[in-house]
């Protein structure tokens, strides 16, 4: 993902392409934001609470996870701990973009960071690569028009319209949350280590949930599973993981590589 290797496009043409990419992401964000709104409604969130989640936390998997915890009446501490670990991968995205944003004023960078998601990273990295340099308006197009606005509007629609559904379980809507979690886990299981970590996390989660309760079991599965995955040899092949807001592919490997090679390629 180095600028020097980029086949550069005219800025106007690159932004047109960015808008097309952004539209596809936005459609997906609307679908998932709506599902989140429905799930939040089912867990007893008020519209203000659901909207606050999407505006402030703004992280799909963590928001879905919180829905399950809140519905089960569990303490906030496990939710906050899991949120931290679930969203720690943003460190890689931020580190990948940071060298390109050195000239952007600090306050603006601070705002840019809040809307940094899997999709925003994917769109910005691809766009910067196309134009061969940083294009801050391009970042806002992807991050805000493509994700933040659609995700938040769809969340509100889901939580408001969800009230019209009298018996959500009759439509299988109670399944949305665990199925989304399973699907997202599969999307992130991009190699042998990830698969082992996921399997171990699931097994440990279930056993300890039965013995000690879900608040302990889920956190233990999420924290011990990776340690088990780390002992597996790495075959060196990965496919792209999926975003936690839209399920679309995001090149996390490229972000990791970028971080690993910072300083070597003049970024």
């Amino acid at each position: 993902m180095t600028a020097s290797a980029a086949p550069t496009l005219d800025l106007r043409a690159a932004r047109r392409q960015l808008l097309l990419d952004t539209a596809g992401i936005a459609v997906s964000a609307v679908g998932f934001g709506f599902v989140f709104g429905l799930a939040a409604r089912g867990a007893g969130y008020s519209p203000i609470e659901a909207a606050a989640m999407s505006v402030f936390a703004f992280a799909g998997a963590a928001q879905f996870a919180a829905v399950g915890y809140v519905a089960a009446g569990l303490p906030w501490l496990p939710i906050v701990v899991l949120t931290f670990f679930l969203n720690a991968r943003h460190l890689l995205y931020s580190a990948s973009l940071a060298p390109r944003l050195r000239e952007v004023p600090l306050a603006r960078r601070a705002l840019m960071a809040h809307v940094l998601t899997d999709e925003a990273f994917a769109l910005a990295a691809t766009h910067f690569h196309r134009v061969g340099r940083v294009d801050v308006p391009g970042y806002w197009i992807g991050a805000v028009l493509g994700v933040f606005i659609p995700w938040n509007l769809a969340t509100l629609a889901g939580v408001l319209l969800g009230g019209a559904i009298v018996d959500p379980s009759a439509f299988g809507l109670d399944l949305v949350f665990p199925a989304a979690m399973a699907g997202l886990a599969v999307g992130l299981a991009t190699g042998r280590r990830e698969v082992v970590a996921a399997g171990a996390g699931a097994g440990i989660g279930v056993v300890l949930s039965v013995l000690l309760g879900p608040s302990v079991g889920i956190v233990a599965g999420g924290l011990i599973g990776p340690a088990i995955g780390m002992v597996m040899p790495d075959p060196g092949t990965h496919v792209w993981p999926e975003s936690d807001l839209t399920g679309l592919p995001v090149d996390l490997d490229a972000a990791v590589d970028d971080v690993a090679h910072l300083g070597e390629d003049g970024l």
Partner: protein, 110 residues
Amino acid sequence: MSTELVLLALLMAAVTYPSRALPMLAPGIERLPPRMLLYLRLVGPAVLASIAATETLVRADETGAYHVVLGVEIIGVVLCAAIVAWRRNLFLGLVAGVGVVAALRAVGVG
């Protein structure tokens, strides 16, 4: 209208924002040991699988004790996961999983 969970949203934001912002605001801080980066990378699938399995399989009885319960929900969750693995499309997986469980419940299964 309840606003209690707004505080939870702010707490979640407080633990998420540093990961998003620190490398942008203080370049170089992200240079964690490779083993730590690998661990962080594996947390996502492990946490999500732990949540999915527990939410699908573990239920509390009237006394508050937890048990493994095999219900019709497993079919929907496994179907969703299989479609994601096959088609790389989470939304399609959700629609299929939810639809199958709704259909089974409509005919009195589960």
